[in-house]
């Protein structure tokens, strides 16, 4: 996974709460068997509307999405994260993320930055009043900065460390292969196996 330290890009205000993963990428787009190529599915239903924010300049070139609370609810599809990153987003800012989406983001190198809802409102106003404003997100400092506004964001220490170092979870876990083997030796024999 690519290391993440800071990112600067155009902020995109998405004034919606409960942006579920079916909105981020509808199920019909999930049939690909590759890990790339999901950008056309991103918000595909909304992108049919010419006034949708990503259909307007300069927001179509945005890379920092600022959304309402409960972003990423619903399905566990990691394709939602891939659609965002394939489109060019590196950061999503919201006042509350669904658990699975937040976990998936951390695995796929998308920064899910949680800020207080009043700060989301300030960012929305700023980005709407001055379209094209660049937002700088500093993971080490846990700050979001746009024009003269600086707000703090929350992310758990472990996820922050992994993103800063660009570490792959499987590699980290396999350092404990002995512990896994030891655990397996103690598992009750009555537990089922799926082979018929």
């Amino acid at each position: 996974m690519e290391k993440f330290s800071t990112h600067t890009g155009i902020g995109v205000p998405l004034r919606r709460s409960n942006v579920d993963t079916d909105q981020i990428i509808p199920a019909v787009w999930l049939k690909r068997v590759t890990r790339t190529g999901f950008e056309d599915g991103l918000f595909s239903a909304w992108r049919g509307d010419p006034s949708f924010v990503l259909n307007t300049e300069p927001f179509s070139r945005g890379s920092v999405l600022v959304a309402g609370p409960d972003f990423g609810t619903g399905s566990s599809r990691e394709h939602a994260v891939w659609a965002l990153t394939d489109y060019g987003f590196r950061v999503v800012i919201s006042s509350r993320f669904a658990d699975i989406f937040r976990g998936n983001s951390a695995k796929a190198g998308l920064l899910a930055a949680q800020v207080a809802q009043p700060d989301v409102e300030l960012l929305w106003k700023l980005l709407e009043n001055a379209p094209g404003t660049e937002v700088t997100v500093d993971l080490a400092e846990r700050t979001v900065q746009a024009a003269d506004l600086t707000v703090r964001f929350d992310i758990d220490d472990y996820t922050r460390w992994r993103l800063l170092e660009g570490l792959d979870d499987i590699g980290l876990t396999l350092r404990h292969a002995d512990a896994i083997t030891a655990f397996e030796e103690g598992r009750p024999a009555r537990l089922p196996v799926a082979t018929s």
Binding site: R15, R16, S17, N18, D20, D22, Q23, P26, A27, V28, L30, K31, R32, V33, T34, R35, A45, G68, P69, D70, T73, G74, S75, S76, R77, E78, H79, V81, R96, A98, D99, I100, G103, N104, K107, A108, Q117, D156, D157, Y158, D169, I170, L172, T173, L174, H176, A177, A179, I180, F183, E184, R187, P188, R190, L191, P192, V193, A194, T195, S196
Partner: protein, 468 residues
């Protein structure tokens, strides 16, 4: 201090306790996979040269995008066919058991696991599907994961996880029963409306109370299934005699069943266990519940009317309600019972089991689906389909004018040809009413099987008591 059931299962699966803010490493007893969220995970293994660590603890089925008509022909949609063929190749290459289309054990992954007896109390179960919470009905800890985590479990049979908080949801009534016409689907829709789509975030929910204790295993699965719609990672119900009787004699039940039962009896939360949060639901006040909006928390009793967004104080919720009504094509103040539907969908991992089909058949028996309404009945698995046919339910459905299909996720998420057209309105026994969930522009009302059946007959959102 006593421990909750979730804490007991967690501790029993601890491979390694995290240090210095690291997550814990938990062992996974059962990993279920399907065609949609696994191909990139297998690719990852191939690229890193890693095997599947425990293929015998992994089970695959084809469910999300398979057609439910003409199932003996090759899948017409080329992209869907490639995805299914990719799963078959991956299972072959990595030695994973697969129940493919037309196999007697094929079906929706969350119907298949329990009916085989693979889901047992105290286990950890994961799957690349958020409705994995279903399996918590057995006192298992079960949750949905993303594709990177699928790859992680395939490679290590473990997951790094931060401990969850626990929330008790007490569902009680004077006599421990639900009122006539009220089902476990209505219970969970009411819970989600009460705590909100984010109310369960960070929690494992434990459903308890005399109403839960009196529910069948299938009704319990319906409730646990929708835990994710409240934002929770998992939902659990303490195993009891109902659980044990369901499991006894199933294909993968333990050989020494009584010894297993003795261990399972230790799992329920201790009397002095403390939950991080508690919620109470008065089941005597519950009536059939339906959704009016575009998230599962936007629901009301069927007897009420479409809400007026202007009366919602919270700005985000008001804006969300306005957008939902526009999308749903509904006017504030319209009685929910006056809403006409075009399609009724009975099925999904929420309500596609034999008890659901029996409940629907009992209502449509001797009646006709209303003119202009199409009704799809999609069993959750081939076993459910076979059982229904043994009982003659298929004849009841087709005599009423409904379509009887093969097993799969079908119109729940519209990945296969079973979709709503733009503007088309459904009453659906599934779990999500998100915009476009059942097809682009489709409008979904989530309902119980009883409401679905009565709605099919009357053509407007209805409960059985509305029928002559």
């Amino acid at each position: 201090m006593g421990r909750t059931m979730a804490e007991k299962v967690w501790e029993a699966h601890l491979v390694r306790k995290g240090e210095n803010g690291e997550p814990d490493l938990l062992y996974v007893d059962l990993h279920l996979i399907h065609e949609v969220t696994s191909p990139q995970a297998f690719d990852g293994l191939r690229m890193a040269g890693r095997p599947v660590r425990r293929p015998e603890l992994t089970l695959a089925t084809e469910d999300h995008n398979v057609p439910t008509l003409d199932v003996l022909a090759p899948i017409a949609d080329e992209v869907s066919r490639l995805q299914v063929e990719t799963l078959r190749r991956n299972c072959e290459e990595f030695g994973v058991t697969l129940y493919p289309m037309n196999h007697a054990e094929q079906g929706i992954v969350h119907v298949v696991g329990p009916q085989l007896g693979l889901t047992q109390p105290g286990m950890t179960v994961v799957c690349g599907d958020s409705h994995t919470s279903t399996h918590g009905a057995f006192g298992a800890m079960a949750f949905g994961i993303g594709t990177s985590e699928v790859e992680h479990v395939l490679a290590t049979q473990t997951l790094p996880l931060k401990p969850f908080k626990t929330m008790a949801i007490n569902v009680t009534s004077a006599d421990g029963r639900l009122r006539p016409g009220v089902t476990s689907k209505d219970v969970v829709l009411a819970i989600i409306a009460q705590i909100g789509t984010g109310g369960g975030q960070g929690y494992v929910l434990e459903y308890r109370g005399n109403v839960i204790e009196n529910l069948s295993m299938e009704a319990r699965m319906t409730i646990c299934n929708m835990s994710i719609e409240a934002g929770a990672r998992a939902g659990m119900i303490a195993p009891d005699d109902t659980t044990f009787e369901y499991l006894r004699g199933r294909d993968h039940a333990p050989a020494d069943f009584d010894a297993a039962v003795a261990e399972w009896r230790e799992l329920p939360s201790d009397a002095d266990a403390v939950f991080d949060a508690e919620v109470h639901i008065d089941a005597d006040a519950l009536t059939p519940f339906v959704t009016w909006g575009t998230n599962p928390g936007q629901g009301l009793p069927l007897s009420e009317s479409v809400p007026d967004p202007e009366r919602i104080v919270d700005e985000n919720e008001r804006v969300a309600a306005e957008k939902a009504l526009t999308y749903m094509g509904l006017a504030a103040g319209t009685p929910l019972r006056d809403i006409h539907v075009d399609t009724v969908f009975v099925g999904s991992c929420t309500n596609g089991r034999i008890e659901d089909l029996r409940a629907v058949a009992e209502i449509v028996d001797g009646r006709r689906v209303a003119d202009g309404v199409r009704m799809l009945v999609v069993p959750g698995s081939m076993r459910v389909r076979f059982q229904a046919e043994q009982e003659g339910l298929d004849k009841i459905f087709t005599a009423a004018g409904a379509e009887w299909r093969s097993a799969g996720c079908s119109m729940c998420l519209g990945m296969n040809p079973d979709q709503l057209a733009p503007g088309e309105r459904s009453a659906s026994t599934s779990n999500r009413n998100f915009e476009g969930r059942q097809g682009k522009g489709g409008r979904t009302h989530l309902v119980s099987p009883l409401v679905a059946a009565a709605t099919a007959v009357r053509g407007t959102l209805s409960s059985p008591e509305d029928l002559d």
